[in-house]
Amino acid sequence: MDIKSMKNYLYWLYCQFELITCSYLMEPWEKVLFYTFNVSMLVMVAYTAYIFFPVHISTAFQFCLHLFGSQHENTVSVVK
């Protein structure tokens, strides 16, 4: 039952997408073109995120660590 309502909800979302982007009005070959373009854009964005996300996160983490790390060293030297 849950699967069925989930499927109905997804179908409704797909209909909303069709109505908002006017693909409801397009001929079949135009729809193919439009969906191909959209899907390829999404795939490219997802691939870019997959490649660069870990690198960005680790760089940001190192930067923050460097900030707090250097501060800790300074205070230690003053105290000493």
Partner: protein, 524 residues
């Protein structure tokens, strides 16, 4: 003039949330991109051309412009502007929702001819079947006089036997029948004015008579959303036209003051005449004109008022006498009362009513009286019988019952739509109900799905409305029964959930001050 009953003037023009406007533009953007793609394919021969285009010899030849000899034979491109682009790339895709042929009387229910298209709305063919008993929410049949009941049409049939159908002449030559005189006296009595004149066509009443009343050196102050017939009449007259914001009295007063203080543009002389053109009910918004304020402004600044009651005559007012009665005012306050018989009387034609001097002037000077064929006798008889029914002169209270039924239907329909959460424009008492759709994709989907549920609606898009505010316009009729309205409302509920049309952020409750409204208190 004091109002006999203090009425609250509640109009709604709710704005949709911001994301709706953004998504509407996204939809139009995608449509435009694909429009350019299709135009490119048509220009390069990759696709069959179904559109209107110039002849080969008359095409603009871009490569020949460098030689003067060739340049003499180049023609201006005809179909490159935005209107044509929009028509061939966006309008044609949903064209099957307009110009649907009907094959019965446009009463509360009607029959449609079934129409299919094989090549995406470029051509249509009829399958031969008719779709029966479609509920009619689009016809201007406010009082339900579009009927085929033989008892009701007895006098019309008799006049048809007596006079035939053709007049074959204009009013000034040999086209004035005793039926016209009878009708004009009846119209004058109905409205409470001195005299009236009737014309064969409603649109022509406006466009042919405004040039007779104003000319060069006069000033026309016209509402932003006036009908094309008023705009055409104003342009044909040659007078100066200034536009004030829709139903906005501050804007109108500012224009009046500027006109009187500064006069005509270069000579600074006083204007020969200042005339204000307004409508009783605006058919795309469903709003009612603020008549008391306009009349007090007109009296203060000595201007004239031309009131076009095309949609409001018969539809508002306690006994159906239009906006003048709705506000409890004296018909002598309005200088020119104009209206049509197409909407509430089930006939065709228009009238202009007012003082006897005005109407006598129009009888001799109006283009329509001199050159246009007069109204045909069975149609005149239909108007006479409808008006007599409304006034109670046929001995029954049927007319008053129709007006009351229309009022009840209007209030019920609007209340239920507000409660469901749709955005509805207009005054609470107007039988024209625009329901906002906003996105171009939803226009086609809405009309087609309503037809599948056997309900016929009128949807309106870009050139007639602003580009982001496309709407479906319902016309409530006195002939609609409660069951029909409930069927329509249930279908709208379902469709509203499926298409996600319920954008209203307020739903009507017992606390009226909590929802957006405009109340205008005129301080004198």
């Amino acid at each position: 003039m004091e109002l006999s009953a203090k009425k609250t003037f509640i109009e709604h023009f709710e704005q949709a949330p911001m994301y709706v406007a953004v998504l509407t533009f996204v939809g139009f953007g995608v449509g435009t991109v694909f429009g350019y793609l299709r135009d490119f394919m048509r220009a390069w021969g990759l696709e069959k051309r179904n559109v209107a285009q110039e002849r080969e010899q008359q095409k603009t030849c871009w490569s020949n412009l460098h030689t003067i000899h060739q340049a003499l034979y180049d023609f201006v491109p005809l179909y490159q502007d935005f209107e044509n682009f929009y028509t061939r790339n966006l309008y044609v895709r949903i064209r099957d929702n307009w110009n649907r042929p009907i094959c019965s009387v446009p009463g509360p229910q009607f029959d449609l001819m079934e129409r299919v298209t094989d090549d995406y709305n470029w051509t249509f063919r009829f399958t031969g079947r008719t779709i029966k008993n479609v509920i009619n929410m689009g016809s201007y049949n406010y009082l339900g006089f579009a009927e085929t009941d033989p008892n009701a049409l007895k006098t019309v049939a008799k006049e048809l036997q007596r006079y035939g159908t053709g007049i074959c002449s204009t009013r000034q030559e040999m086209g004035t029948l005793d039926k016209h005189v009878e009708l004009e006296n009846l119209v004058a009595k109905f409205l409470g004015v001195e005299d009236a004149m009737v014309f064969g066509m409603g649109f022509a009443t406006n466009s042919m008579n405004i040039p007779a009343l104003v000319g060069k050196g006069c000033l026309i102050l016209s509402d932003e959303l006036n009908h094309t017939s008023l705009v055409l009449g104003a342009r044909l007259s040659g007078a100066t036209i200034r536009i004030f914001k829709h139903n906005n009295m501050q804007s109108l007063e500012k224009l009046l003051r500027d006109a009187i203080v500064y006069g005509q543009p270069r000579s600074r002389r006083a204007w020969r005449k200042i005339i204000i053109l307004v409508e009783g009910i605006y058919s795309m918004e469903g709003s009612i004109v603020r008549l008391p304020e306009i009349v007090s402004l007109k009296n203060k600044y000595k201007a004239y008022l031309y009131l076009d009651e095309a949609h409001s005559i018969g539809a508002v007012g306690a006994t159906g006498r239009g906006v003048v009665e709705y506000f409890g005012m004296n018909p002598n306050d309005v200088d020119v009362l104009m209206g049509t018989f197409t909407k509430s009387f089930g006939a065709a034609g228009g009238y202009i009513a007012g003082k006897k001097g005005l109407v006598d002037f129009l009888r001799t000077h109006s283009h329509s009286a001199v050159y246009a064929t007069s109204m045909c006798p069975p149609v005149a008889e239909q108007i006479i019988r409808a008006m007599k029914c409304l006034m109670g002169l046929d001995g029954t209270t049927q007319g008053l019952q129709r007006v009351r039924q229309l009022g009840k239907n209007t209030r019920y329909f609007r209340r239920r739509l507000h409660e469901m959460g749709f955005i509805i424009y207009g005054n609470d008492d107007s039988p024209v109900v625009p329901l906002l759709l906003y996105m171009p994709g939803k226009i086609g989907a809405f009309a087609r799905r309503m037809l599948e549920k056997n309900i016929g609606v009128v949807v309106v898009g870009f050139p007639a409305t602003p580009i982001t505010e496309s709407r479906a316009r319902f016309c409530v009729s006195a002939a609609h029964t409660r069951e029909m309205l409930d069927t329509v409302l249930n279908a709208l509920d379902e469709l509203g959930d499926f298409l996600h049309l319920k954008y209203s952020r307020y739903s009507k409750s017992s606390h009226p001050e909590l929802y957006e409204e405009t109340r205008f208190e005129f301080e004198d």
